[in-house]
Subunit: 306 residues, 2 copies
């Protein structure tokens, strides 16, 4: 039994109003697997890097108990590289460089040891690669979560719709939900999207929290208001990783557990943005995570007598 | 003991993607007093209208038990008129006409019968008129709530800052909180604003809910996701009226009661947007309100074991 996370493992160079980094390790699978590792100890990644990715970069995964057998290292090639600059509001950014490199022809090979997969997180990648992973698993996982973005809706909507039919949970932001459904109201958008395959829809609203839709039920999760957002990179992936890591831990798929999973994912994401890149989520203590969860509880609790 | 609500009583002509209205009764004091009347039965308004405001328009207030002795009717003059058109996203609008009319030289006269005021809602008006009302009350109310907008920050910031020193609760939206404080982070903005006079700050975020700040505490209230927002006009005033109406009902000023008051205000606002103008909030049953409150409870409840 394991949790497989597929996505990018990459180098990022990030500039925010608070400073800038050289190339640091990033990528959806990096953030998501680190986050998931706080709740579940059988996390395995499927990704591809070049030979510029060094042993010490891989150590960060193994120190968190993350299985890297599915991390392909392509000799003579370079890792995916992204560079971006955030504006003062931290909500918008300019992409300065995107070098696909090894990602251009990524073939997601699933090691035999990974065939015990019960939980599958399909990080943001082409919908075709995401679908290939599902097809290569001998048994259908108990829970498949898919993250995607507007980019794939723009250029590969048909492929995305095909892949969506195969998943249980979709995580997208509010604009993407509107684009995917053609509906402005998120309630109407969710209703449509829940006919496309996913039985659960999570709409990520960044500083405004997240919404979970399932059948006729809605859960609204708060975001923790922060004095300083240092670097938003990876927050969405950290959220998704925390979410599925918690689901893998509790093992029962239902609406109530998903509500909690969203709070755990949000808590991890709130740490992620406090420092550059993965710095903060590399070294959290159990106590720090537990305290942050309690902050979420306090933040949204109220008690009205019926 | 009473709750005084001061603000505009006006005519609005509204166009939304769903249709348009002729001149209908609107204005901040109208929405706020109707909302407050669901929770408290000693609501009194201070406002001014022209002689185009007819007896049947006033009946809507009296039917809700709202005291209109403080509603001045200026013979030979016209009521404040606003006309606007909402865009398809319902979050932005164009103002088509603003005719101040009687509002241009509004002198807020407080009837002697109003001097028992314990709760005061200062709806969006010039900060000078808002301050005048406070000065004309012989005893300082137990709770003063002030609503304002960016317009007054643009043209009368000094007067606004003077008035702010006198109030307990400020309600503004997120952009206004940023403008007033000069801080982008709402946590930092709140910290600054809470040194300006108000001990409580409510940041209204529309479809994203509301935040309450007090000392080092934060409460995040959800908004009810709606399939259709028919007309957003008056939602903020309805929220504020529901908020102070509930506070007047419970009578004890503290953070926990304010959390509930925000939920009650949000519930009333969620009704307001379902029809044009005041139509929906004119005729709510106790059961409808109670059911809506339970929807808010379900929407945000989760239970994580420590």
């Amino acid at each position: 039994m394991s949790l497989i996370i597929i996505g990018t493992v990459a180098f990022d160079a990030i500039e925010t109003p608070f400073g800038k980094t050289d190339k640091i390790v990033g990528g959806a699978a990096t953030y998501a697997s680190l986050a998931a590792s706080y709740f579940y100890n059988k996390v395995k990644i499927v990704a591809v890097v070049g030979d510029d990715f060094h042993k010490e970069d891989i150590d960060a995964f193994t120190e968190h108990g993350i299985d890297t057998e599915g991390l392909q290292i392509k000799e003579g090639e370079k890792s995916f590289f992204w560079s971006g600059k955030y504006h003062n509001d931290m909500n918008s950014r300019d992409t300065l460089a995107t070098e696909l490199n090894v990602l251009a022809d990524f073939d997601p090979i699933i090691p035999e040891n990974y065939q015990d997969c019960e939980y599958l997180m399909l990080g943001n990648l082409t919908p075709i690669v995401q679908r290939t992973v599902i097809e290569r698993l001998k048994n259908r996982p108990k829970l498949i979560v898919l993250d995607t973005m507007n980019f794939w809706m723009d250029i590969m909507m048909d492929d995305l719709l095909e892949t969506l039919k195969l998943v249980d949970v979709l995580t997208i932001n509010d604009e993407e939900a509107r684009q995917l459904s053609g509906e402005y109201s998120l309630v109407k958008a969710a209703k449509k999207i829940l006919t496309m395959g996913p039985k659960y829809l999570i709409i990520k609203k960044g500083e405004h929290g997240a919404l979970l839709f399932h059948e006729d039920k809605i859960f609204s999760a708060p975001a923790l208001p922060l004095a300083e957002v240092f670097d938003p990179t990876g927050a969405g992936d950290t959220f998704a990783g925390g979410f599925i890591g918690y689901m893998a831990k509790v093992g029962t798929i239902n609406f109530n557990n998903m509500k909690n999973a969203i709070i755990f994912g949000s808590a991890l994401a709130s740490f992620c943005v406090e420092k550059f890149g993965t710095e903060k989520i590399l070294n959290l203590t159990e106590e720090e995570v537990a305290d942050r969860i309690q902050e979420f509880v306090k933040l949204s609790a109220f008690s009205i007598e019926a």
